[in-house]
């Protein structure tokens, strides 16, 4: 699908997005909000950082759903990703972990997520577990065992300060005004996510595996009669989605530098927002990443309001992303889902 195609097909969606921006600009102008203090380079950079975990989970989730399996457990996989990355970095490097240790820990977290996701996939596909209930169960498991891990290791649901990812400065490019600091002097995980989003797009729309994933979710019988094993495609997609959500959780940890296990844990709904991000992005990986950026920006507004001297209680400003999710779902709620989502498929008899 070309960009023009995408635009033509999503005229309503894009139109509304433009309208939203226009309303925001108008509101800013009328209410005399110091916009310059809010939309700063630092804000964009922070928004991108905040968006990466959501985008990663969203890309994973959309692959699963495209293939016909609703992975509602993204939130849980993110919690596991964050907790396991924290545990791994502690076990590898203790309280003086290096950047290398952190990268290793991220890899380890993704590897563990792969295993969990494989078990989850077996339950969903082989044992035909209720996708919604099993997905919720993953969330509950994360909420229980994530903090449990922390308590076992640190005697507390929150970890002490671990190690955060250092900004990667690309010499030369970082000097470009505006774009330089946003893209070339920031967390390398932001770049990684951007690359993954584009790669996910290419795979989905330009390779045979992408064709198979789409067919598995829309008309599994068609894929089956074309001689491709539907179950295998779905296994791959679900396992990929769990790994991506785990990576999202690990990235969240790497950006935060410590694990928080109180309340709804540090993931705090980002997995759920990831689901909405891909719905908003109309199941397009790049669109989903862009939608994640919107939620990331809302997440970071609080800091901007403070620096701009706008006096809104933190607790309420923190709720903006959740409110935005509801608005998005209400306006774009009737997104067409792949038609075979949630249906189990057995190829014979």
């Amino acid at each position: 699908m070309s960009v023009a195609d995408y635009a033509a097909r999503n005229r309503f969606r894009l139109g509304s997005a433009v309208a939203l921006v226009a309303i925001a600009v108008l509101a800013v102008a009328l209410l005399d909000v110091p916009l310059g203090d809010i939309v700063t380079i630092g804000f964009v950079e922070r928004s991108l950082r905040a968006a990466t975990p959501i985008a990663l989970a969203a890309i994973g989730g959309l692959y699963a759903e495209k293939s016909g399996v609703f992975n509602i457990g993204l939130e849980g996989f993110m919690i596991f990703g964050a907790a396991n990355a924290a545990a791994a970095v502690w076990l590898i490097g203790g309280d003086s972990a290096t950047q290398g240790d952190l990268w290793l820990a991220i890899l380890a977290a993704v590897a563990i997520s792969l295993v969990y996701a494989a078990i989850f996939a077996v339950l969903l596909i082989r044992y035909e577990a209720d996708q919604i209930v099993a997905g919720l169960a993953v969330w509950f498991l994360g909420l229980g065992f994530g903090p449990f891990t922390a308590v076992i290791i640190w005697g507390n649901r929150n970890s002490p300060g671990l190690v955060g990812i250092d900004a990667l400065t690309v010499p030369g490019l970082a000097g470009i005004p505006v774009l330089g600091p946003i893209l070339f002097n920031t967390s390398p995980l932001v770049m990684l996510t951007a690359v993954l989003a584009v790669a996910a797009w290419v795979v989905l729309y330009r390779t045979k595996y992408g064709y198979w994933i789409q067919a598995a979710g829309e008309n599994p019988e068609a894929l089956d009669t074309a001689g491709v094993n539907v179950t295998r495609v779905r296994y791959a997609a679900v396992i990929f989605s769990g790994a991506m959500a785990g990576l999202g959780g690990a990235v969240l940890l790497a950006h935060a530098g410590s694990f928080t296990g109180t309340g709804d844990t540090m993931v705090n709904g980002r997995g759920w927002i990831g689901i909405v991000a891909y719905l908003f992005g109309n199941y397009n990986p790049v669109g989903a990443a862009a939608a994640a950026l919107l939620f990331g920006g809302l997440d970071m507004l609080q800091i901007q309001f403070q620096t701009a001297g706008i006096d809104l209680p933190n607790r309420l400003v923190n709720l903006f992303p959740y409110a935005a999710v509801i608005v998005v779902l209400t306006v774009w709620g009737s997104t067409r889902m792949p038609s075979a989502v949630g249906e189990t498929y057995e190829s014979e008899e």
Binding site: T207, Y211, Q214, E218, A222, L223, T225, A226
Partner: protein
Amino acid sequence: MASSTDRPPAVELRDITKRFGDVVANDGVDFTLEQGEVHALLGENGSGKTTLMSVLYGLYDKDAGTISIDGDVREFDSPRDAMDASVGMIHQHFQLVEPMTVLQNVVLGHEPTENGLVDEAAAREDVAAISDRYDFDVAQHLDTPIRDLDLGVRQRVEIVKSLYRGAEILVLDEPTAVLTPQEVEGLFDVMEELTAAGRSLVFITHKLGEAIEAADRITVLRDGEAVGTVSADDTSEQELARMMVGREVLFDREPRETTPGDPVFEAEKLRVRGDRGLERVRNVGFTVREGEILGIAGVQGNGQTELVEALTGLRSVESGTVRFHDEDVTTASRRRRIEAGIAYVPEDRHTQGLVLDYDLVRNALLGNQTIEPFAERSFIDWSAVRDHAESIVEEYDVQPPNPNAEAASLSGGNQQKFIVGREIEHDPDVMVASHPTRGVDIGSIEFIHDRLLDLRDAGLAIVFVSSKLAEIQKLSDRIAVMYEGEFVDTVDPDDVTEEELGLLMAGHDREADVDSTAVTADDGGGGDETPADETEPPASEDAPDGGAQS
């Protein structure tokens, strides 16, 4: 088109047996497809046609028998194996991915790749070549998503897909079920092109006329057994019908004794939109009187569904009015209409008429939630409902006669009898019955027909929708023919021939070109017989309904 004798048959099935649990779907069936012929596989629903071909296509494992392709014995574990042996199958439900383009669908599973990406240019060239070679008219749609295409084009895409995969032997499963008469003609042309190029075709159908028209030879299946193979040139529809059902079935129109009374149910200038926002019912008006059956005939998908939903309160109308007695019920809710006495036997008994995992007792309440004696104020009197279920089961001969049976466990005919019984016992003034005999066995069909006639004699106003000409003619007092959302004509069943009805259903004028157009809509009906002694295959089904027994 005759077979060349020096080559072994394209397909030779010997003694194929296939069981599903205790049910024997194919019982020692022999079948031979010669090179370059069109061989029709004829039989009613559930006779084992599709099962047999699914065995050939590797979808089902056979329990016994052998498959030979071009003289070599083969074992197929999956469609892929069958495809490798150049066998392709065009299913009744198209195996197409709707949001993906024609090109993507055709190459699915066999994508040419370059550097890990799908090589679109190469795919495009190959597919266009196939389309052009057979004059399929698909090349210009290569980048169109399937969902934007007509059913006829989709079917050709399916055929192109099989050819792209190298199919020499093509199985077409009920290919005409979803097509308009014009598209059916187009399909027959395509079939001719294919056999002319040396392909061999199996044509699965339950329509006698089509089998004779399109096939070289015809094999009839009944109850999972091959009854016989005949040459299309040497047979007649009567002979085929006899082979299919084992006896001759006649639908005779009985002269009626009562005369219609006052108008009960009226529609005026009705316009209704379909799911996709397109206008599906255009300016339809009618009046049904006490003791009268208005038959609505038409090929599936000409707005009947939307019309019926608008009449029964399941779909809102764009403009126009619906009147019940003297009351304007155009905007009345479904529940209000049920309470007023408009009963409805729905088109789709599996999703609408029954809750499949409820027992019959709980299904007996469906639609009766607010009606006395079942509902007293807000509460349900379950013992009254149970009595009701029992009396329906008894009076309408529902098998097994157990009100505690889960609805899903009943056969299609018995499910339908239960629904018809429940709706009649509403004591309605109006009955809207939409395809009430679809996918139903012959005994149940006759039973349901008799009940509808009884109701008419008892003074009900009945709207009867069907695409089977025979039953429309048998039951109706007047027949309105629906085509592309309009009532193109309303005729008296006694002075219209089936051929004329067929023309009307295909959107032609009744008188204008009877002679010039040889093809009739022939939808589930008996073809070119005289209406007086018309035969109809029982349990014929006009749409890919699935049905309990298929």
